[in-house]
C-alpha cells in the first residue's frame, strides 16, 4: 500500500537515499565530461551562495560603530573585531533592553518536547495502521495522508480560541479551555504556559509523521511480527521490543526534521506564544528586533547568528539524516 500511496515524500526520500553518490555514469564517462568550466561555475555559485551568511558572521563580530557605518567587507582591510555584540544581544544592553538568552532557551523548551511527543504518537499510530489492521485502516491512513493538504493557516485561529475559551456545542462543553485542564499546572506563576505550543506543534506534525513512519514500518518483514505474535507477545511488547529498535533510522530522520521545523517556525510561535520572554521562541524575538532595531546591524546579526547556530550545527553534524528528513518533510505545513 505504501508504494501505491507513497506520493511525493516517499519518492523524494527514495530519490535521495537510494541513489548512490557516484552511481549512474561510469567513471570513464564522468572524466570525459568533467570540464574545468563546470567546476569554475560551481565554485562561483557556491561562493555567491555562501557570501550572505558569511557577511552575517563578519558583521556580528564588528564593533557597533564600524558595523553600522561601513560594509562588512571593509573589515578585512581594516580588521577590528569584538564579541561585545554577542554579550549585549544575549543579556540585553543599552540598545536592546531585553536579551535573546531567554528566547534561546524557550526554543529548546518548545522544540524538544514538540519533537519527541508527536514522534512517539505517530510511531504508535503507524504501527497500528500497518500491523494491527482493521476494516477501515486503509481509509484512516488515506484520510490522515490527505490532512497534509490543510495549511496551518486554516487551523490557527480556531485552535487559539479552543485553547483560550474551550469548545462548546450549544452550551455543552466538549473541550475545556487549557486553564481548566491539568495542563495549567505546567504554567509559571504569571500564567505563561508552553502547553499550547507543544500541543499545536504536535497536532500539525502528526499527518506527515504518521505517513512517513507508516511507509517505513509497513516495509518491515512480516515474519517478524507473525513469529512474535505466535510466541504470545502482546502488541505493546512488540511495539517496544521490535518496532522501536527497528525503526531507528526513520525515527532519527523525522526527529531531526521536526526539531528543526519547530526551531525555525515563526507562525505557530507568533500565534500561540504572544511574544513575551516567558514562552516565545527565538524566531519571534528576531522578527521583532528586526522590525524595531533593524538599523542596529551589529545586534540583529549577532542575534540571527545565535539563532541559526543550532540548525547549522545539526545540519553539518547529521547531514545524512537531515537531508532525508528535510526532503521528506519539505511539503509540510
Amino acid at each position: 500500500m505504501s508504494v501505491e500511496t507513497g506520493g511525493l515524500t516517499a519518492k523524494l526520500e527514495e530519490a535521495v537515499v537510494a541513489a548512490p553518490d557516484h552511481g549512474g555514469m561510469s567513471t570513464a564517462l564522468r572524466r570525459n565530461l568533467s570540464s574545468p568550466w563546470a567546476s569554475a561555475l560551481v565554485i562561483f555559485i557556491t561562493i555567491l551562495w555562501t557570501i550572505p551568511t558569511f557577511g552575517l558572521l563578519v558583521t556580528s563580530l564588528r564593533p557597533a560603530a564600524d558595523a553600522n557605518s561601513t560594509g562588512w567587507w571593509t573589515a578585512f582591510t581594516n580588521p577590528n573585531f569584538t564579541l561585545s555584540n554577542y554579550s549585549e544581544v544575549l543579556n540585553g544592553g543599552n540598545t536592546i533592553p531585553g536579551g535573546i538568552a531567554p528566547y534561546f532557551i524557550n526554543s529548546f523548551v518548545i522544540s524538544i518536547p514538540a519533537a519527541l511527543i508527536p514522534l512517539t504518537l505517530a510511531l504508535m499510530a503507524a504501527y497500528a495502521l500497518a500491523w494491527v489492521p482493521f476494516r477501515y485502516s486503509t481509509a484512516v491512513f488515506l484520510a490522515i495522508f490527505a490532512l497534509q493538504v490543510v495549511p496551518l493557516q486554516m487551523a490557527l485561529l480556531p485552535l487559539l480560541q479552543m485553547f483560550n475559551k474551550g469548545w462548546t456545542i450549544g452550551n455543552i462543553p466538549i473541550i475545556p479551555p487549557i486553564k481548566d485542564t491539568p495542563l495549567h499546572l505546567l504554567a509559571a506563576s504569571g500564567g505563561a504556559n508552553f502547553a499550547p505550543l507543544w500541543i499545536a506543534h504536535t497536532m500539525f506534525a502528526l499527518p506527515l509523521a504518521i505517513f512517513l513512519l507508516h511507509n517505513f514500518i509497513s516495509q518491515l518483514p512480516k515474519d517478524l511480527f507473525e513469529a512474535a505474535r505466535v510466541d504470545g507477545a502482546s502488541h505493546f511488547l512488540i511495539f517496544r521490543k521490535l518496532v522501536l529498535p527497528l525503526s531507528v533510522p526513520a525515527i532519527a530522520s523525522f526527529a531531526i526534521f521536526q526539531f528543526l521545523w519547530v526551531w525555525n517556525d515563526l507562525l505557530v510561535g507568533l500565534t500561540f506564544a504572544g511574544g513575551t520572554a516567558d514562552v516565545a521562541p527565538i524566531t519571534v524575538y528576531l522578527s521583532n528586533i528586526q522590525g524595531t532595531y533593524g538599523a542596529a546591524l551589529h545586534l540583529t546579526t549577532a542575534g540571527a547568528f545565535i539563532a541559526i547556530l543550532v540548525p547549522l550545527a545539526v545540519f553539518f553534524a547529521l547531514q545524512r539524516f537531515f537531508v532525508r528528513g528535510l526532503l521528506a518533510g519539505s511539503v509540510k505545513g
Binding site: 541513489a19 564517462l29 518536547p113 490557527l156 505493546f236 525555525n264 522578527s287
Partner: protein, 324 residues
C-alpha cells in the same frame, strides 16, 4: 518564568509523557487476551486520531464556516468576504504579488538547481559545494531575512559615503552613482524578496534533481552518446525527459512552500511598500486587525490554491510509479 523551571519542564514533560505511556501499556497488557487487539488499536491510534480531529479537521471546518460570517463571527454574510478579497482594488497588490511569487520562485530555483545538478555531476569533489548551497535550507526564514538585510540595506550616498549593503556597494563600484533604496523600490522590491526564497530553495532543487540525474541508467546515456548525442541534445532529449517527473515534483513542491511562506515578507517589509502576499495578509487580517471573517476567507483561498498542486503532484508520481 525562571530558566531552572523551563529546563525542568523540558526534561519533565517528555518523561511524564513516556511514563504515562508505559503505565498504560503495562495495564493494557495485563488484560484478557481477547481484549488485547481492540485495546491495542484504541491505545495506539486513539491519541493521534483525537489530536488530528480537534487540531486539524474541526478547525479547518470552522475556518470554512467563518469565511461566510462577518468579522466578529456574529452574522452570516454569504460570499461577501470572498467578494472583498477579489474586488477590493487595494487587494490587487497582494493577489498579483502572490501570483508572481508562485510563478517566478519555483522556476528560478528549479532552473538553477538543475544547472547545478548537471554541473555537479561532472565534478569529482561535489560534496562541499553541495553542502554549502544546500545550507540555507537549514536556516529559518527569519534568519534568512536578517542575512539578506545586509545585502539590501541602503544609505543615501549624498549623506554617507560608505554603504553597509553589499548590493548598493557593488552597484556604486560598477558606476551607478545613486542606487535605489532597494527595499522601498517598488515594484522591484518584490523580486528582491523572491531572491531570498530562491537562495533557500535552490539547494533543495539541486539535491533532489542531482539524485534523479544519477539514477538515470548508464546504458541510456551511453546509447545516446553512441548515437552521437552530446551537450545540449543529450541534455534536452535524454536527461530532461528522463527526470521530467522529478522536475514537476520539485516545481510544485517549491510552489506549495512559496504559497504559505509569510516569514520573509513579515520580517523584511511587514507587507508594506507594495510587497504584501496572501499568507501575510491572512495573518494580518486575523491576528492584527481581528477581521476573522476575512482572515478565514483568505485561509480558504490559500487552501484552494494549494490543493490542485498537491493533487497534481500525487497523480504525477502515481503515473510514474505505474510505468516502472
Amino acid at each position: 518564568m525562571t530558566t531552572g523551571y523551563k529546563l525542568f519542564l523540558t526534561v519533565a514533560v517528555p518523561c511524564l509523557f513516556f511514563a504515562t505511556l508505559l503505565v498504560v501499556f503495562w495495564l493494557a497488557s495485563k488484560t484478557k487476551a481477547r481484549f488485547q487487539t481492540p485495546l491495542a488499536r484504541l491505545i495506539f491510534l486513539g491519541p493521534a486520531a483525537v489530536l488530528l480531529f480537534i487540531g486539524l479537521v474541526i478547525p479547518a471546518l470552522q475556518t470554512f464556516w467563518k469565511g461566510f460570517l462577518n468579522d466578529d463571527s456574529t452574522k452570516w454574510i454569504g460570499l461577501k468576504n470572498y467578494g472583498w478579497i477579489f474586488t477590493t482594488p487595494d487587494n490587487r497588490t497582494f493577489l498579483i504579488n502572490t501570483l508572481l511569487w508562485i510563478i517566478i520562485t519555483p522556476i528560478f530555483s528549479t532552473a538553477l538547481g538543475l544547472t547545478l545538478a548537471l554541473l555537479l555531476d561532472r565534478m569529482k569533489r561535489e560534496s562541499l559545494p553541495k553542502s554549502l548551497i544546500f545550507m540555507p535550507m537549514a536556516i529559518s526564514f527569519v534568519g534568512a531575512s536578517i542575512i539578506w538585510n545586509l545585502v539590501y540595506s541602503y544609505k543615501d550616498p549624498s549623506v554617507s559615503p560608505n554603504q553597509t549593503g553589499l548590493l548598493s556597494a557593488i552597484m556604486i563600484r560598477l558606476g551607478l552613482s545613486d542606487p535605489p533604496n532597494w527595499i522601498l523600490w517598488q515594484p522591484w522590491n518584490n523580486f528582491l524578496l523572491m531572491v531570498i526564497m530562491i537562495w533557500i530553495q535552490t539547494g533543495f532543487a539541486m539535491v533532489v534533481l542531482s539524485a534523479a540525474i544519477k539514477a538515470i541508467p548508464t546504458d541510456v546515456t551511453e546509447a545516446a552518446m553512441l548515437d552521437g548525442a552530446s551537450g545540449w541534445s543529450l541534455f534536452s532529449k535524454v536527461t530532461v525527459p528522463m527526470i521530467r517527473g522529478t522536475l514537476v515534483v520539485v516545481l510544485t513542491t517549491i510552489a506549495i512552500g512559496v504559497l504559505k511562506v509569510f516569514d520573509i515578507v513579515r520580517t523584511m517589509t511587514g507587507g508594506n511598500f507594495g510587497t504584501q502576499v496572501l499568507a501575510n495578509e491572512m495573518y494580518a487580517q486575523s491576528f492584527v486587525q481581528f477581521n476573522y471573517g476575512r482572515g478565514s476567507a483568505l485561509a480558504v483561498v490559500l487552501f484552494i490554491a494549494v490543493v490542485p498542486l498537491i493533487v497534481y503532484n500525487i497523480v504525477q508520481l502515481r503515473k510514474e510509479q505505474s510505468i516502472r
